[in-house]
């Protein structure tokens, strides 16, 4: 019995160490991975890890829509930067040529025969950066409790009221309520669950890529639309610069907590739907190194 136990234990330990060993190795290829949204991955050997001067090679990127939203034809932009004149025959930017709906994919052809004509005496490592920029969005659904006290028999004020979230990089992570005097306050948290950056939905990808200062000011903000039959007013920002604070059901918001308020005077206790719709531009990037060796 004891021997069997030792064998089992050894096997589990072996598996554990093997897993640790594998994860300890440096990653050769990167991909943008989100809770949803578009994922981008350099195709294996396109580009290869090493090339010699004047050797032609392809550069392909696979795009997959891992989220729930559709990305219309030509609406996502993909920029390949960090190259300059170090390589020839490479397109600097591409758009999706197909509709990218949930689960669909597309291969981008940045170069079918890129090559380097550099003069080198030693190997040179070129760091390429692929930036994806696309409009995305989704919604989160909650059922809130409209009640004038914490001891309502119809529904409960306490707890996270969030029911569902779309598969997308920006998500609502909690919807909570509290009674403040004669008002009911509903707060929800907007979080970036991906590795990229978020901008207001009217952001221009080309301008973002060029680091245009007016576009950069839209960083960290999303458009939120609150849909509920209740007469809430939410503290959001205007959708246009200088993004002043307004109380309405639609506007811009920074990532973090958004609070909505309504009067509960004369209200009978009941449950109500509370939907948050998010719209934004999402920007992610991955890098790939290419070692160019003199011939």
């Amino acid at each position: 019995m004891k021997t069997l136990l030792s064998i089992q234990l050894s096997f589990i330990l072996l598996l554990l160490v093997l897993v640790l060993g594998v994860t300890g190795c440096p990653q050769q290829q990167q991909s943008i991975e989100n809770f949803g949204g578009l994922s981008a991955t350099f195709v294996s050997n396109a580009p290869p890890l090493n090339v010699i001067i004047n050797q032609a090679f392809p550069i392909y990127v696979d795009i997959n829509n891992l989220g729930d939203a559709n990305v219309n034809t030509n609406s996502a932009k993909f920029y390949l930067s960090g190259i300059g004149k170090n390589l020839e025959g490479v397109k600097a930017s591409l758009s999706n040529t197909n509709l990218l709906d949930k689960g669909s994919s597309e291969r981008l052809d940045f170069a079918s025969a890129a090559k380097s004509t550099l003069e080198l005496s030693n190997p040179f490592t070129l760091a390429m950066l692929l930036t994806s920029c696309y409009k995305y969005g989704g919604k989160a659904q909650a059922d809130i409790c409209i009640a004038s006290s914490n001891s309502s028999k119809i529904c409960s004020i306490s707890g996270n009221k969030l029911n569902s979230n779309s598969a997308e990089p920006i998500q609502i992570t909690s919807v909570t309520e509290e009674i403040s005097g004669s008002n009911l306050v509903v707060s929800f948290i907007i979080s970036n669950k991906g590795t990229g950056e978020v901008y207001l939905p009217d952001s221009d990808c080309d301008k973002l890529q060029a680091r245009d200062i007016n576009e950069v000011l839209k960083n960290g903000k999303v458009k939120v639309s609150i849909r509920t039959p209740e007469d809430f007013k939410c503290k959001v920002q205007s959708l246009v610069a200088p993004y002043s604070t307004i109380e309405t059901l639609e506007g811009a918001s920074s990532l973090g907590t958004v609070s909505c308020e309504k009067s509960i005077l004369g209200e009978s206790d009941h449950q109500a739907p509370f939907q948050v719709v998010l719209d934004y531009v999402y920007v992610g990037s991955i890098s790939q190194s290419l070692v160019i060796t003199p011939s």
């Binding site: 004891k2 030792s6 234990l9 050894s10 330990l13 072996l14 160490v17 093997l18 640790l20 060993g21 594998v22 300890g24 190795c25 440096p26 050769q28 890890l49 090493n50 930067s81 960090g82 190259i83 300059g84 004149k85 170090n86 004509t117 550099l118 003069e119 080198l120 005496s121 030693n122 190997p123 040179f124 490592t125 070129l126 760091a127 950066l129 060029a210 680091r211 190194s289 070692v291």
Partner: protein
């Protein structure tokens, strides 16, 4: 039983960790070659009938000078090696003589640099011999080696960040070493990258023009930045111990790494001195 289990576990961990490390891909970053010597090095070969440092010669002794030239550079070298002494030719001995040499590039297989070597025998025919010196005397042997040095020095210039940076340059040790500092500013819709390049003579060698191998303190410089226009004053410069050269380029508004190559061409003259003694003639001693 418990001990056996713990030992088995430890052995497993060690074996798997070793295997894990071995299976990891090796980074493609450059590995520096480790050697303490650099460029060309000349030394005397020991042997019977060969000239040795500090030796005492009797008049009438015949000898040869046998030199070993080691090349620690990764480029082949050719030039001339000359010998002479500080005594008048009337007493015979080591007369002024030069001979050409060629030596292959050092081998850089693996991480170890293996010097290439070549042996030179002087005089090219016959042997040296001192005669008729009236008294015992100290003497000096001068060995001068002159060769052309072509250096190609490479570094990566990242623009725009970091804004100020000392560039890491891959260079084999040579009589002239190079350092470079980069600064970046914005000029309209482009970045202006300025590179301050400092040439430094790092040993007692004399720098010559390669044109005639006679004019002292001359060096030929040129530089290239990827496939961009690199604005530098290029050509032959006068250089005693240091020379500062500024280059600049207008580059796109993007974070890019650019390979920068610096080409140096110059002649190198190095002289080594060896002391020795010559005894007086027997006849003179007996008187």
């Amino acid at each position: 039983m418990k001990k056996r289990l713990i030992y088995s576990f430890l052995i497993f961990v060690l074996v798997i960790l070793v295997l894990g490390v071995d299976s990891c891909p090796i980074s493609s970053g450059g590995v520096g070659q480790q050697t303490s010597k650099s460029g060309l090095d000349v030394s005397l070969v020991q042997g019977v009938g060969y000239f040795n440092q500090g030796m005492t010669l009797d008049q009438g002794d015949t000898f040869k000078i046998v030199l070993k030239i080691n090349n620690y550079d990764t480029t082949e070298k050719s030039g001339t090696i000359c010998v002479k002494d500080d005594k008048e030719d009337v007493y015979g001995g080591i007369f002024d003589q030069c001979t050409p040499f060629y030596i292959q590039a050092a081998d850089t297989q693996g991480n170890v640099l293996q010097a290439a070597s070549s042996t030179v025998y002087l005089p090219t025919s016959g042997e040296y011999k001192y005669d008729n010196l009236p008294i015992a005397t100290s003497a000096k042997l001068f060995i001068t080696i002159a060769y052309v040095q072509h250096s190609i020095i490479q570094g990566t210039v990242n623009v725009p960040m970091p804004e100020v940076e000392m560039i890491t340059l891959a260079q084999t040790s040579a009589p002239v070493s190079v350092s470079a500092e980069k600064t970046v500013s914005k000029q309209g819709d482009q970045y202006k990258m300025s590179l301050g390049i400092n040439l430094l003579k790092s040993d007692s060698s004399i720098i010559l023009t390669t044109e005639d191998m006679k004019t002292d303190n001359r060096i030929k410089f040129s530089a290239k930045l990827s496939n961009y226009n690199f604005d530098c004053t290029q050509g032959i410069f006068e250089m005693e111990n240091t020379k500062f050269i500024k280059c600049s380029a207008l580059l796109p508004l993007e974070q890019i790494g650019y390979p920068c190559l610096i080409y140096l061409d110059y002649g190198v003259k190095q002289t080594k001195t060896f002391d020795f003694k010559i005894n007086a003639k027997e006849a003179v001693k007996s008187i």
